[in-house]
């Protein structure tokens, strides 16, 4: 949709517009980098938190949803809560037999195209508005951050299965992913709780010498 309006991450106002390098991602202003690439990629290895709310999401449900997605060339994950990364970097989560959550990759256009194709919905397919915020928690100390905020043992969590739980007292959807054989955790949260969650996570990250990083480092890679 090419609207007159900009999309906005619910925590965008937490970042000083004069600090770091800003750019645009899917019609939303984002911080591309807070610091040098070297600093940010080091953080990515140790402990980093990144606001990836700008990545468009699409929810669809209904008896015809699965077939329609497949007909559009989307590879669907088997089994409820399983996730499947597409070749272009976009991500598909199966919420139930006939409900899916799709998230755009950093360079892909798939989800946005699908979204426009779908419009208000079609026979047997309903569109589910998905405006939740999402943060990416990465680095070797990511598990420590989770251990301080969540009662789930993520060391045991498979890297292709969604977890619905509570982090820092807030209901969240956690998508563990694996990149370069390193576990990363994308945390989806109701946009209205985004500020609270970000602030809690960031406090802990900073105590553990982690930092906020921009999206550029992923755009370069094309994927989370």
């Amino acid at each position: 949709m090419n609207s007159l309006l900009k999309r906005q991450s619910p925590i965008q106002h937490l970042f000083d517009p004069t600090v770091g390098q800003w750019g645009e991602l899917a019609q939303a202003a984002v911080v591309l980098a807070f610091d040098s690439e070297e600093v940010e990629s080091r953080a990515l290895q140790t402990l980093a938190l990144c606001d990836v709310s700008a990545l468009p999401k699409l929810g669809i449900k209904g008896p015809a949803a699965a077939n329609w997605l497949q007909s559009q060339g989307v590879t669907l994950p088997e089994g409820i809560y399983r996730t499947r990364k597409q070749s272009d970097g976009s991500l598909v989560v199966r919420l139930s037999d006939n409900e899916f959550l799709l998230q755009e990759g950093f360079v892909s256009q798939t989800i946005q195209t699908l979204s426009e194709l779908l419009g208000w919905g079609q026979e047997g397919i309903a569109r589910v508005e998905r405006q939740e915020a999402s943060f990416l928690l990465a680095g070797s100390r990511a598990l420590n951050v989770l251990a301080q905020t969540c009662a789930i043992d993520f060391r045991q969590a498979p890297h292709d299965r969604m977890v619905m739980t509570r982090i820092a007292g807030i209901s969240c959807r956690v998508l563990p992913t694996e990149t370069e054989s390193k576990a990363r955790y994308q945390i989806g949260v109701d946009a209205t709780y985004a500020v609270s969650l970000w602030e809690s996570l960031m406090t802990i990250c900073q105590e553990l010498e982690g930092r906020a990083i921009g999206t550029a480092i992923f755009t370069a890679r094309g994927t989370i």
Partner: protein, 966 residues
């Protein structure tokens, strides 16, 4: 005072001396010292005073099992000297003294001790009643230990979770062996030890036994090196909870540990003997003397008497002699004394041994601050002693080693039960749940070789239970030989200063007296005497108390029973438990704008909402009226992001909605909205909102800010119970909403949308979907505030942009944001109620004038059956509008002021506005049924009981014809 020769296993680091202060004096200790060890080394004998009589107290257990040494440093309080690691700059005072430890004025309370037997405070001070507050004030002053530092601000602490297969509590010989055995089978083990070092009692009990030392060293090496074992020292298992959750507490944090299995190898507390002056500084547990010498290189005494009830006493005696303490005598309670080689060893070492003797009394030095000697007596056939044959021995200390009590807390809390076993004269665990194991002394296994073996047995059994091993499990080991504990190391004395409970200053006689008064079962005795209720939780008192009670009742210990143990096994600071104190708050997408605009924000549940937008020089009330007036005259914009937003679709959606709400929706046309009222099954109003029908089977529903979450949850459950084909989506956070309203609304909105806003195309009570500023949105034409207006619902990510856009476009028109207070005023003028403000926990629709939305003819809706019953009943109250006479200018009513008549309560104000755009003070109120007619005069009683006249007024107060919103 000099320290003993260095020794590889001592815990102090002589290369790091540490200066500290105690009661205004400077002392020096070493890193690795605890405060009391450093004080003892510095020659300090009195480290605190007792709770009730303020008797001098010294180092007794050196293990945190007693609270003789309770300190404060101005910052923190109730610090335990036995476990507080020495650190630079410590400046400590003893708690609970007046005028310092030495000159403590409260020490004179001892003089009146004969007037203060057990429970004395129940028997006086209450008559005359008028005097009790004075007495209580005095008692409160002397009670309590440390003082709170009012300036201390609680810090957020980093709580965390941890996960392992097996928790082993206690890193003594059995705990280490257990951990190792389990880990070797592939079990993931966390080994928790309360001391800063591994080894448990072996660290101080068997230091002169090369074999023991060697085997301990090997164990520690393999454990620390083992990949499957995580070691946590200086950590307490403070509590055990359901499903194998454990509270681990160290200096900095609480760790919530989850495991699949538990091995308790916590060992024992050494137990006191009860004799006259058994609390003098200088009388201590033999294990404490051993800790002093072996761990901290401090010589406990010059010359001491060892009171023996078991073999360990002889080891202690030999240990003490070896560090240069002269052993005045071993006084052995047992008829034959120690018959093993140790006995002979002691004799060969030249120690005088009195068999079948007891210490009758410790002789106090000046001010009861030291020991000068003991009186000992031979024991008669029934353990009684005869003072006349007392013999005096000079010494400056008494080392007591008469028995042990298992550290049972973790086992009790994890679901274990204990029974008293006569072959060891201690409680031993029985009936352990399948995933709970005990090993070592805690279950009555005392010989060192047995403890290693028993640990391995427990570790292996746990591994087998966890399915990690198929080895054959051996039976628990049973102790053979003499009992490690004496059955009754308790001796009466006419002077009655023989303490059973040090925390609470309870003497032997107190128990007899309580028993005489009928407190003759263990629970009543505990509550009446307060034994075990003090800060050390009875670790040194409960066992002897039960022994005493059993004798008084002439029953066995098992018949007498013991009290169980609840968390916390070890006291935990509130800050540790509180952790970071997450307080999630919800923000609408427009929140940052409100903040910039300086809005006065108010919490509504988890939400933050603008109450109004302050302008300097204007009062809150002025501004609220102004914002409201502006809506009436021009156009305003309010953030409705907090509204509950729910999509209901699917073939059964109409039927579903008809069952949820009281009104009837089957006939609702697509593109229209209806007011929707929801009741619970008892017919009580729980929520309201609007139902917008988007098309045949697609509805968009709003719910109240406060009720939305619970309401949606119930919708989900009803859909399930009724097995209806409906899709429910909670869009509360996915969408956001704002209401642009006021006469000039169109001037602002038209340019931003392709939706035809003309009355013909889009009349009052309609809903349209279309693009606003290029964004797909829903426009709902509502009349809550009584002016032309549209609720705009759109994807949350665009919320802030649209909000700013509308303000920018409307600038010339004069658009102005308004807060929830103005909205509350506007809706009040229209006579609309707000659920939970104008309704309470029992309000039904009939009382609230909402009969018109209750369709009792319908097949079914939630609450229908109850409303049918309520309809038959006479209503007791009704919601009405009222206004104050225009000429009235006295004090004004507030919400929930009462309406009275002839001294009776006849109603209650639910909403009120002191100033309104209709120029009066108006409000809503519940009143008795006979007072609802317009024109009826009411009397509202306000603060200070002033009476305010009011008149019942027809609703709405504003625009009765609803012309303006049409």
């Amino acid at each position: 005072m000099t320290r003993l020769q260095p020794h590889e296993h001592q815990w102090i680091d002589r290369s790091r001396p540490i200066e500290f202060r105690f009661e205004g004096q400077s002392y020096q200790g070493f890193a690795g010292d605890v405060v009391t060890s450093a004080l003892w080394a510095g020659g300090v004998r009195m480290v605190g005073r007792s709770f009730k009589y303020h008797r001098p107290r010294g180092t007794y257990s050196l293990a945190g099992d007693d609270v003789n040494a309770m300190f404060e440093d101005g910052e923190r309080t109730n610090l335990r000297g036995n476990t507080l690691q020495l650190s630079a700059g410590l400046d400590l005072r003893s708690v609970n003294t007046v005028g310092g430890l030495k000159r403590d004025l409260l020490r004179f309370t001892q003089l009146a001790s004969s007037m203060m037997p057990v429970g004395f405070y129940y028997k006086a001070f209450h008559t005359p009643r008028s005097l009790f507050p004075f007495y209580e004030g005095q008692m409160r002053k002397v009670a309590g230990l440390g003082r709170i530092n009012p300036n201390q601000m609680a810090q957020a602490t980093p709580k965390d979770y941890a996960f392992h297969d097996l928790l082993v509590v206690g890193a003594g010989p059995s705990g280490l062996s257990a951990a190792l055995a389990a880990a070797d089978e592939g079990v993931g083990v966390v080994l928790v030890e309360q001391h800063p070092h591994l080894g448990g009692s072996l660290a101080w009990q068997r230091r002169n036994d090369p074999e023991a030392v060697a085997s301990l060293n090997t164990l520690v090496k393999s454990v620390t090196a083992h990949a499957n074992i995580e070691v946590r020292c200086a950590t307490q298992v403070a509590g055990c909870y359901a499903d194998h959750w454990y509270a681990l507490v160290d200096e900095h944090r609480l760790t919530k540990l989850r495991t699949k299995s538990l091995i308790v190898a916590t060992g024992c507390y050494e137990q006191p003997a009860v004799f006259q002056n058994n609390d003098l500084p200088g009388v201590m547990l033999a294990s404490a003397a051993q800790r002093l010498s072996h761990l901290y290189a401090v010589q406990p005494f010059k010359k001491c008497v060892v009171l023996a009830g078991n073999r360990d006493a002889y080891r202690a005696a030999l240990d003490l002699q070896q560090v240069g303490v002269e052993i005045a005598a071993i006084v052995d309670l047992r008829v034959d004394g120690e018959t093993t080689a140790l006995g002979a060893q002691a004799e060969n070492a030249g120690m005088e041994i009195y068999r079948n003797h007891a210490v009758y009394e410790a002789i106090a030095g000046s001010g009861n601050t030291t020991v000068q000697g003991v009186k000992i007596c031979p024991l008669g056939d029934h353990g009684q002693l005869d003072p006349h044959s007392a013999k005096r021995l000079d010494c400056d200390g008494v080392a007591v080693s008469v028995g042990w009590m298992p550290v049972a807390g973790p086992l009790y809390q994890a679901g274990g039960r204990f029974t008293y076993a006569d072959h060891v004269h201690q409680l031993v665990p029985t009936e352990l749940p399948p995933t709970l194991f005990a090993a070592g002394r805690v279950q009555g296994v005392f010989h060192l070789s047995d403890r290693f073996a028993d640990g391995r047995r427990a570790g292996l059994t746990a591994a087998v239970e966890l399915g990690c091993s198929d080895q054959v499990v051996r039976k628990p080991i049973v102790h053979a030989g003499a009992s490690p504990s004496h059955p009754y190391p308790i001796f009466a004395h006419k002077k009655k200063k023989n303490f059973v409970e040090f925390d609470e200053d309870l003497h032997l006689i107190d128990f007899a007296n309580a028993h005489q008064e009928g407190y003759d079962n263990v629970e009543l005795l505990k509550r009446y005497t307060t034994v075990g209720m003090g800060p050390s939780q009875g670790k040194l008192a409960n066992m002897n108390a039960v022994r005493i009670l059993a004798r008084l009742n002439g029953k066995s210990i098992n018949e007498t029973g013991t009290t169980t143990s609840r968390p916390f096994h070890h006291p935990v600071p509130l800050a540790h438990l509180a952790g970071r104190r997450f307080h999630p708050t919800r923000h609408t997408p427009m929140h940052s704008w409100h903040v910039k605009a300086g809005a006065k924000l108010v919490y509504a549940g988890p939400w933050l909402r603008p109450e109004y937008y302050p302008i300097s020089g204007k009062t809150r009330e002025e501004l609220i009226l102004e914002e409201a007036q502006h809506v009436r005259d021009c156009v305003g914009l309010i953030d409705l992001g907090t509204l509950g937003k729910i999509e209901i679709s699917g073939p059964d959606s109409t039927a579903f909605i008809d069952r949820i709400y009281t009104d009837q929706f089957a006939s609702q046309k697509a593109g229209t909205i209806r007011y929707a009222l929801a009741c619970d099954e008892t017919g009580t109003i729980i929520d309201d909102g609007i139902v917008a029908r988007l098309d045949e089977n697609r509805f968009y529903v709003t719910a109240t800010t406060g009720g939305a979450a619970a309401f949606f949850r119930e919708l989900q459950r009803w859909a399930l119970i009724w097995q209806m084909k409906v899709e429910l989506v909670n869009l509360t956070g996915q969408f956001t909403a704002m209401n642009i309203t006021g006469t000039k609304t169109h001037e602002v909105l038209t340019s931003l949308t392709d939706i035809d806003l003309s009355n013909e195309a889009f009349g009052f009570g309609n809903v349209r979907e279309g693009l606003i500023a290029g964004v797909p949105a829903k426009l709902i034409r509502v009349g809550f505030v009584g002016e032309l207006g549209y609720e705009i619902h759109l994807p949350a990510a665009y919320g802030l942009s649209l909000w700013t856009k509308l303000l920018e476009v409307g600038k010339l028109t004069g658009i102005r944001p308004f807060g929830i207070e103005a909205q509350r005023l506007l809706r009040l003028e229209k006579g609309h109620l707000i659920v939970s403000i104008d309704t309470d926990a029992l309000t039904n629709p009939f009382e609230a004038n909402l009969k018109w939305v209750v369709k009792s003819k319908k097949e079914f809706f939630v609450g229908q059956r109850s409303l049918a019953i309520l309809r038959q009943k006479q209503l007791t109250r009704k919601l009405i509008g009222f206004e104050l006479p225009s000429e009235y200018n006295g004090p004004l009513p507030e919400e929930c002021h009462l309406i009275v008549e002839k001294g009776e309560i006849v109603g209650r104000v639910t909403s009120v506005a002191h100033r309104s755009t209709v120029g009066k003070t108006i409000g809503l109120a519940f009143v008795r049924l006979d007072m609802t007619d317009p024109g009826t005069s009411l009397t509202i009683r306000v603060d200070q009981g002033k009476l305010v006249p009011a008149i019942v007024t027809a609703l709405p107060f504003y625009d009765p014809g609803n012309q303006r919103q049409k």
